[in-house]
Amino acid sequence: MTGGERRDLATGLAFISPWIIGFLAFCAYPVASSVWFSFCDYSVLSPAVPIGAQNYIDLANDEVFWTALWNTLFFSAVAIPLGILVALALAILLNFDIPGRGVFRTIFFLPSLVPMVCLAVLWQWLLNGEVGLLNNVLNVPLEALNALLGTSLAAPNWLADARYAKWGLVFTVVWGVGNAVVIFLAGLQDVPRHLYESAEIDGAGFWQKTLHITLPVLSPVIYFNLVMGLIGSFQVFAVPYVMTGGGDGPERSLLFLATYLYQNAFDFWNMGYACAIGVILFLLILACTLVLRSLSERHVHYAGK
């Protein structure tokens, strides 16, 4: 290393030193101790006692954990694609030359600003089985249908019914999708006009243009949103926690990995067990990200690469 290189290294490290300290204190050390505690019986009030892989063995036999895992996976598998689909559709519609685009964009974006606790309280109210706004809207077509066909369809009592509770949560996610709309819209504006024009000359319609031009160009942005959505929905906590009044919903239908981790750490004082859940949560995110990455290498189209 030359003197100049050494000096650059020193300057560079000096500039990133806040991050290095933060990384060591709030990431590397906690992750390492999380792994260590996951092999211990530990509750902050008494010292950690190593118990081997007992926590993981218990987890494997813990149906509640499997419920939480299933709920988390189900929620992610529904909410992420649905969110991206809705955001994409709205962005494509907004990309048309129509009056009031700016107003629409603001309208779609606003809900994503709503703080999570407000979001939860608000949707708890909207999803109320009897006087909730959503069911009052749904009841209009349902009643018409019932009158017509003699059926007895009724809107579900969302958050009180184990079968529908997670869908209630999905609504809140889809409603807060405005962030992605803005990102997609920005991505759409980068699509070279000439691509569309030449496609039109070839007689391509709206769907063909969307499928063959828009989506490939947007693919890196979609990929990025997938990854971020994944990391976000795997750690979903605040909204279900608040919606259920600090609980886990009917028949644990709103128990997620982060909720179960929290319960074990701060309600049951099984912090070692909580750490084991944390380690699994982390490995899951890692695995899913790697899978997405390898998929992206095949399907994501990077301009100029």
Partner: protein, 453 residues
């Protein structure tokens, strides 16, 4: 983008923050407590129950000039308190639930009070036995009672009369309860339920403990005992509800129920005639039931009243000193004060409850507005006055029981299956806690012996 909004935003933000910090600083300025030891006291109550305790705190603060109790109501106290104790910043006194004693003490979260209580001459003879027992765990005293409750059958006399039942003759066995239930049931023309005699799910706060009225035990010899015939039969009774009345119909019926503390409470607006409730129901009836509401109280019927008469759950709220509290002696001064006859009766009168002390003064009983106070306080003396199961895993056990009832209720599992799930999960949990306790007990017991103040 111009730089103006950026800079001005910052200036405004900083100015506002400074202002708020100043306001906060001014508010925190102490005056009447100068020269006194300030004892921080967290209580879970809010509303009129908090006010009743506040009056006692004020009396205490005025009665002497050495200690100042700084009282505040804390929502979701279980979580907050454990976090504060774990974080090393506990209050000096906390008002907690009686059922929290095992889990708190086994986690080394409380200060043992044996010596302090002995110094003040506080012993078992002062209390109704079941409440003194609630204060103790693993051979140590962990708290002293604040206000108690028992559970009883509370029923709507008007609905009884309208259904052709004698309003002075409540049911005395589960079989009778169900016979009354049939008579009190009203259906709408389309088959929906309009009113019912009794629903285990309303309010359903003790869904984990129905077995008590069958003479069952939730724990036996360190084993989860839900497989026993008594408990099983209790939950088969729960299961009979969705079977008899229909899952959908019950769900639709319960959808129309308003909040507990509101005139839409189904017991207050005549949709449910009988409920299992605590002594506090009087206060809610006064506030939310119609003025002509007529009600009676009786022991909740057991399955076999000859073998198990007067079954109840007796529980009391508890004043404890968290581990790591800065002023345990001063904190105990206050706890002992609350547990002397005068202040205790003032507190219980304010909260409209009976006293946990073995004797109540005639004035207290004469002044007390609760029309059925004796019905509740007599139950506390019953040999079948039961406590919450004594285990540090009860929180998890209880939520598992609730989950089981929720499965039974929705028709997704029968009682046997649901209870088997509980047993399988909770036995593991219990074993785990037992193993943990075996490891920690010698260390902690020595610690408690050596360091108790």
């Amino acid at each position: 983008m111009s730089r103006k909004p950026f800079v001005s935003l910052w200036v405004r933000g900083l100015a506002l923050a400074t202002l708020c910090a100043l306001v906060a600083g001014v508010q925190a300025a102490p005056d009447p407590r100068a020269g006194r030891v300030v004892v921080k006291y967290w209580e879970k109550w809010n509303g009129f129950e908090a006010d009743a305790m506040r009056a006692v705190v004020d009396d205490f603060n005025q009665s002497q000039n050495r200690i100042w109790v700084d009282y505040s109501s804390v929502s979701q106290i279980d979580r907050r308190l454990m976090l504060a104790i774990a974080g090393g910043v506990p209050p000096d006194i906390a008002g907690v639930w009686g059922l929290s004693i095992p889990v708190y003490s086994e986690n080394n979260a409380l200060t043992p009070l044996d010596k302090l209580a002995a110094e003040k001459g506080i012993g078992p003879d002062r209390y109704i036995p079941v409440f003194w027992d609630t204060c103790r765990h693993e051979g140590h005293l962990w708290g002293l009672p604040s206000t108690p409750t028992t559970l009883a059958l509370v029923y709507n006399k008007k609905m009884f009369r309208e259904a052709g039942l004698d309003p002075e003759r409540p049911p005395r066995s589960i079989a009778e309860l169900e016979a009354f239930n049939e008579k009190l049931l009203r259906r709408s023309p389309d088959g929906g339920i309009e009113a019912i005699g009794f629903l285990p799910e309303e309010p359903g706060w003790w869904n984990g403990l129905w077995g008590y009225w069958w003479g069952g035990e939730m724990l036996r010899d360190g084993k989860v005992n839900v497989g026993s015939p008594e408990i099983r039969s209790a939950y088969e009774w729960v299961q009979s509800y969705p079977e008899r009345f229909g899952v959908r119909e019950l769900l639709a019926f319960r959808d129309g129920f308003g909040n507990y503390a509101s005139p839409q409470n189904p017991f207050f607006n005549g949709r449910v005639a009988m409920v299992l409730q605590g002594v506090w129901i009087h206060n809610f009836i006064q506030n939310y039931a119609p003025p002509d509401f007529e009600w009676g109280v009786a022991p909740f019927p057991s399955f076999d009243p000859a073998r198990h008469p007067d079954v109840t759950l007796a529980d009391c709220d508890m004043l404890v000193i968290p581990a790591g509290a800065k002023h345990p002696r001063e904190a105990f001064e206050f706890i002992a004060y609350v547990n002397s006859p005068g202040p205790m009766e003032k507190l219980c009168l304010g909260q409209l409850k009976f006293s946990p002390l073995a004797t109540s003064s005639p004035e207290f009983l004469a002044r007390h507005p609760h029309p059925h106070l004796r019905a509740f306080s007599d139950l506390a003396w019953s040999p079948n006055a039961r406590r919450y199961p004594v285990t540090s895993t009860w929180t998890a056990y209880q939520s598992e029981m609730r989950n089981a009832v929720s499965r039974i209720w929705s028709g997704n599992a029968d009682a046997g299956t649901a209870l088997a799930t509980v047993e399988q999960r909770q036995q593991k949990n219990l074993d785990r806690a037992a193993a943990r306790w075996t490891r920690m007990a010698p260390v902690l017991k020595k610690l408690w012996k050596d360091t108790s103040p």
